[in-house]
């Protein structure tokens, strides 16, 4: 039955970490998805049910609460891996997901494949796919033997599994007592918008230094809202303070691969392109006809964004009727 174990720590702000449905979908495409969910006791039944609704054939649960960082969840994931003996361990590559994957790999001394964008099976077993150097190379990797632990880039996998009837089994976990850091407090990021998550959005509108100011960056937000898109930005726009750092797309920000990437006032430095050039369709608006972003745009428009963007937003609104 080729068990594929999916690690799903609870997000500190509540709920499963992002990418849970994708990871279970990917697991179902090559084997039987078995989830292990950790979190506070009161939230655990709901989290387990959610994992089953994403298609996990079985859900192991373990209570992880309190102030210790990292190690207690790792104890649960280690116990689950030893019990399930999976062929592959899949983990959404969020902050807590990477932490879980790294700790489990160190404990099992099982190989890690990081930031994968696809899974497949060949006659020798599980193979995972990577998009390397900003999408310039397609690479496949595998474990020489034993389980492989893979962190999965969010938004990279379209597979979704059918919902499964909840089969929830609490795990027996022996606390390792490993030395851990202490969490003093947690402050959730205020949800200021209902816009899609940049990491998984199908459409992204990104603004660059060409916007000129934080106030004028609102043009990007209006266009994004009209398209139902996430808001992205170049590093230059982030460094200039037009938008929060979490919006940064590129080598040192988020790597995205949406259906539509609309770049506005972004010249397209190599570090920005490395984070977005695998988008299916790229549209670029910039004043400078020699901007490198035009080398990869499906539609490039040379002109003044301050007239083009409002016109585009109005035209899209008009089309919606």
């Amino acid at each position: 039955m080729n068990p594929i174990l999916v690690l799903l720590p609870a997000a500190p702000a509540g709920g499963l970490i992002a990418g849970a449905a994708e990871a279970i979908g990917a697991a179902a495409s090559i084997g039987t998805p078995i989830a292990v969910v950790t979190g506070p006791a009161d939230a655990l039944p709901g989290l387990a049910e959610q994992a089953a609704s994403f298609g996990a054939a079985r859900v192991h649960t373990a209570v992880v609460e309190g102030a210790e960082l990292g190690a207690p969840a790792a104890d649960a994931f280690e116990a689950a891996a030893r019990l399930v003996q999976p062929e592959l361990v899949l983990v959404p590559a969020t902050v807590e997901g990477r932490e879980a994957a790294g700790r489990l790999a160190a404990r099992l001394r099982a190989p890690i494949a990081a930031d994968i964008v696809g899974v497949a099976r060949d006659e020798q077993g599980v193979v995972v796919r990577h998009s390397v150097y900003g999408g310039a190379y397609d690479v496949e990797s595998a474990a020489t033997y034993g389980p492989l632990i893979a962190t999965m880039r969010l938004g990279s996998i379209d597979d979704r599994a059918e919902a499964a009837a909840p089969d929830v089994q609490p795990l027996e976990v022996t606390a390792s007592g490993w030395r851990a850091a202490t969490i003093e407090s947690f402050e959730p990021i205020a949800q200021v918008s209902t816009r899609p998550d940049l990491r998984t959005a199908k459409r992204i509108v990104s603004g660059g230094r060409g916007l000129g100011s934080k106030e004028q960056f609102a043009l990007i937000e209006q266009l994004a809202d009209t398209l139902g898109a996430a808001v992205g930005a170049s590093r230059a726009a982030v460094d200039a303070g037009y938008v929060e750092p979490s919006a940064q797309v590129g080598q040192t920000g988020t790597s995205v691969s949406p259906d539509l990437y609309l770049a506005v006032g972004i010249s397209g430095a190599i570090q920005h392109r490395a984070g977005m050039q695998t988008a299916k369709t790229i549209v670029a608006i910039d004043r400078d006809a020699s901007a490198p972003i035009f080398e990869i745009a499906d539609l490039g428009v040379v002109g003044d964004l301050f007239t083009i963007v409002p016109q585009l937003t109005a035209a899209l609104e008009a089309r919606k009727g």
Binding site: G70, A114, D115, Y137, A142, L227, I270, T307
Partner: protein, 263 residues
């Protein structure tokens, strides 16, 4: 107090980065090798603490091919007191676990109160090293610190995590990783560059490391590894239609999106 900062020599992201299609390894000759910027930020944080506290020694550590030593020198030029360079041909193509084992063993040998590393490198983008090192060294680990405050026996700071930020602290010895939110690294001054030439660089091979102390074997094949099974260059993206705005570009983009069912 000894603070060890991990520096990773990587292909410069400002240039074209090339994978060797025969071996699947980075073609180090094809692009300039530089210290990953996030490592420079980690070093900056360590140096700032050392300057304020006065009693801290900052050491930089890399596992990298012998020819990458010039990149490590930059760490010395910025102000680190000494460098440890693990270079061994047997480590070419080492996977994450092997790399973590080697770094952990080197850290055991060097000794540390605090290890600071970047949260993810620009070439591997894995973001798992700090968590692995914390486990292998049985030390508290904190990933993705956006700020850090080091005292004689603890490290404390804000950690950027999924959906929010945490204030976290750990008793030393500890392993932490830092994000881009940390202050920009300093440029080495000429005096620093001159001094760097006189600073000690300890050269280590696998045979010098206490691998058994971190549960690792000298023989790389003694444990399962992650291996690359294929590598292909993606065809470069070609430019599509480029138009110059004649007053109707907004309308034309809207039509283009509608045609492709993207609006």
């Amino acid at each position: 107090m000894k603070i060890v900062v991990l520096l990773k020599p990587v292909p410069d992201t400002y240039g074209q980065r090339v994978l060797d299609l025969e071996t699947g390894l980075a073609d180090r000759a094809a692009s300039e090798t530089v210290i990953d910027e996030i490592g420079e930020r980690a070093l900056e944080a360590a140096l700032q603490h050392a300057e304020q506290a006065g009693d801290a020694e900052v050491v930089v550590l890399s596992m990298a091919p012998a020819e990458s030593q010039s990149a490590l020198r930059k760490g010395l030029a910025m102000g680190a007191a000494s460098a440890v360079h693990v270079a061994d041909e047997r480590l070419a193509g080492a996977d994450y676990v092997r790399t973590a084992e080697v770094l952990a063993a080197a850290l055991r040998k060097t000794g540390f109160d605090l290890v600071i590393t970047g949260d993810a490198s620009t070439d591997g983008t894995g973001g798992v090293m700090a968590a692995m090192l914390a486990e292998m060294l049985d030390a508290p680990g904190i990933t993705r610190l956006e700020s850090l405050e080091i005292t004689a026996d603890a490290v404390r700071g804000t950690r950027a995590t999924d959906g929010g930020t945490m204030v976290v602290q750990a008793a030393l010895p500890a392993v932490v990783s830092v994000t881009e939110a940390l202050p920009d690294p300093r440029f080495p001054a000429l005096r620093g560059i001159m001094n760097a030439k006189k600073k000690p660089v300890e050269q280590l091979t696998l045979d010098d490391l206490p691998l058994d102390e971190v549960g690792a074997a000298l023989d790389e094949t003694a444990a399962p590894r992650s291996i690359m099974t294929s590598v292909a260059e993606r065809p470069p993206r070609s430019a599509g239609t480029i138009i110059t705005d004649e007053g109707d570009a907004g309308e034309r983009i809207a039509a283009f999106l509608a045609e492709r069912r993207l609006a």
